[in-house]
């Protein structure tokens, strides 16, 4: 995939400067100089070149390498799909899939709710709003490794703040199982809600104030205005925020690694382990490709369910 594809059309009309019928929604006044299609191509090329070099190559590389057997980092025999079969028949893999998906569903839901509240507050006018906006962003700004350490100390068994403050005795939150899962969810919830808030805030700011005024005049309560004005107009931002959060949450690694010493095994934790802690590139590559397929599948499902107006054509949108 190179820069030539995105410009798109197999076109001899490209250089001629003739307004091809499908280029704009409406025939715009044709300017002298470069054609619209050439303009589009110039504008879109840089991002796709970067994407292709940086994103596509690693994926193809991993996909290729995943077909071989490895001893440490030395590639040996071609083994076809054997690495995949190994993973797909391993209970550990399926547990990781389950943990990853559960984590994503729970944390993205919680982050969306709190992010929405944050965004509404950040968008409200009151004295001290600037400071509040900055403060709300704080958790996202703190480096994940440091934040993970802080949360780890909060949940720690012995000098743990949470056990101490809530008078819970010596509960080993990060020891195993469900409590470990929830501890990481809470930390991620705290850390990433501001990100959702920022995306939703940007969307909120495009909603014309007059729309609210009109709804208010018609006697709409706050909730009705939220339901019938804010949510529909915010829908594109919401879909983008949920999609990117989900894609990101499906790759959760840092917090799980720092807080639980990688005992909470998500797909990325498994992949990281097979690269760093216990080098098995064949396993790592197969895991990466499987993770990619999983996330791509979920992403496509998500887009086909909710994102019609987000990825749709300009003709049908807006």
């Amino acid at each position: 995939m190179s820069g030539s594809t995105p410009g798109g059309a197999p076109g001899s009309a490209t250089e001629s400067g003739a307004p091809a019928p499908q280029v704009t929604e409406r025939p715009a006044p044709q300017q002298e100089g470069i054609s619209e299609r050439a303009l589009a191509r110039i504008f879109i090329t840089p991002s796709f070149v970067v994407m292709a070099a940086i994103a596509l190559f690693p994926i193809l590389y991993a996909a290729y390498e995943s077909l071989f057997d490895f001893t440490f980092f030395t590639r040996e025999d071609f083994v076809g799909l054997a690495n995949y079969v190994d993973q797909l028949t391993s209970p550990r893999f399926w547990t990781a899939v389950f943990v990853t998906i559960a984590f994503t569903v729970v944390s993205v839901t919680l982050e969306f709710i709190v992010g929405m509240i944050f965004a509404l507050i950040m968008n409200a006018a009151f004295r001290g709003r600037n400071v509040t906006r900055a403060v709300i962003l704080l958790p996202w700004v703190i480096p994940t490794v440091i934040a993970g350490q802080k949360w780890r100390y909060l949940f720690e068994q012995r000098p743990g703040y949470i056990n101490e403050w809530l008078g819970l005795g010596a509960i080993d939150w990060l020891g195993s199982g469900a409590s470990m899962f929830w501890a990481v969810v809470i930390a991620d919830w705290w850390k990433t809600s501001p990100f959702v808030a920022l995306l939703l805030l940007a969307g909120l700011q495009t909603i014309p104030q007059e729309t609210y005024e009109a709804a208010k005049v018609d006697g709409a309560t706050w909730w009705q205005r939220f339901r019938n004005v804010t949510l529909p107009l915010l829908a594109p931002s919401i879909v983008v925020a949920l999609l990117f959060r989900s894609v990101d949450a499906l790759r959760i690694f840092d917090l799980a690694d720092v807080m639980t010493n990688a005992r909470l095994e998500t797909l990325s934790v498994l992949a990281q382990r097979s690269i760093v802690r216990d080098p098995q590139p064949d396993v790592a590559n197969a895991l990466a490709v499987l993770t990619f397929i999983l996330i791509m599948g979920i992403g496509l499902l998500f887009i086909s369910l909710m994102g019609r107006d987000v990825v749709g054509d300009p003709e049908e949108g807006s």
């Binding site: 300017q31 504008f43 940086i54 690693p58 900055a134 609210y212 005024e213 706050w222 983008v240 990619f292």
Partner: protein
């Protein structure tokens, strides 16, 4: 911007039956349509106070929730060493030591700060430039397979981060970019671009094409209309996505460490921060002091952009 946005407060929703609204409000609002700037809230006074109070209470509660670990970091950075690890947690230090902050700021800190600033500002500027142009094309032009292009952009974010490391390292080594600023900048660019393309595309789509066409009737080129009409109207989106790109590039650790492993003079702040952890036992007081200083530039950047976000809102308000 107008005060009327205070209706965001969740708490005044339940207690406010719509009947309370004075009937004079209707007349006022009809005229307000012609002068959108003067859109003060027409809520009756008690409700407005309730709404404002609700906003404040919510803001304070959520502020504490967000700020708590940061405050804790500041306090840990100021604590004398024996109080950092204790059987029962000590939250408020008994005495204050500012020496760690001094120690962090002297030393090599300025070098790493410079590296981080160069990389991060380049990433922000390039991300916005590259993504805005791509986002506009994807919003306005009927490109074949647009849906799949959008998903392709996303695909970079569907791969476990660690697994990208080895192939990317190979790419960068072939290009001779290991241990240079452009190496990191290009890598970060590819991670920050997808989200920004998607978001800005949404903003551009929400701006009526008529505005662009009007500008073109007045003699602007298509690209000129984009630059003079569409971009300014999208300032809130550009500001928000800049903050996103800034925070991402500012915080990234894994690639910064691996690409510059053999050139310590190129290290960015997160890598420098991490090295406090390994050095002769972990000095948590130092790490916390360094982390606090580490977060300050992001907040400065955000407050700087904040004005832009508000300006965008004003423009947005006049367009309706």
């Amino acid at each position: 911007m107008s005060v009327s946005r205070s209706q965001g407060a969740p708490s005044h929703a339940a207690s406010a039956p719509p009947v309370e609204r004075p009937s004079t409000a209707r007349a006022t609002t009809t005229s307000a349509a012609s002068q959108p700037r003067r859109s003060r809230s027409r809520l009756p006074r008690p409700r407005r106070i309730l709404g404002t109070t609700g906003t404040y209470v919510a803001a304070i509660v959520l502020g504490v929730f967000s700020a708590f670990p940061f405050v804790w970091m500041v306090l840990t950075g100021l604590k004398p060493n024996p109080e950092i690890f204790t059987a029962t947690p000590v939250f408020i230090p008994s005495e204050i030591t500012h020496l760690r902050f001094v120690e962090v700021l002297t030393g090599d800190f300025t070098l790493y700060l410079r590296n981080s600033l160069i990389v991060t500002t380049s990433v922000v500027v390039l991300t916005v430039a590259v993504s805005a142009s791509a986002g506009w094309v994807l919003a306005r032009f009927a490109i074949p397979m647009r849906r799949y292009l959008l998903i392709l952009i996303l695909s970079a974010q569907m791969f476990p981060f660690v697994v990208l490391l080895i192939p990317l390292f190979i790419v960068m080594r072939e290009l001779g970019l290991i241990g240079t600023y452009p190496g990191l900048i290009i890598a970060y660019l590819s991670f920050s671009t997808p989200l920004v393309v998607w978001i800005l595309r949404g903003f551009f789509k929400s701006i009526p094409v008529d505005l662009e066409e009007a500008a073109m009737v007045d003699g602007a080129s298509r690209a000129g209309a984009f630059r003079r009409i569409v971009l300014p109207l999208s300032l809130p989106g550009i500001a928000a996505t800049s903050v996103y790109a800034f925070i991402f590039a500012w915080n990234e650790f894994l690639f910064a460490l691996s690409f510059n492993r053999n050139s310590p003079e190129m290290h960015t702040l997160p890598v420098a921060l991490q090295q406090f952890i390994g050095r002769e036992g972990t000095d948590w007081g130092m790490i916390m002091a360094a982390s606090v200083i580490f977060t300050v530039p992001v907040l400065v950047f955000f407050l700087f952009l904040h004005r832009r976000m508000t300006e965008g809102m004003v423009i947005g308000a006049t367009k309706g």
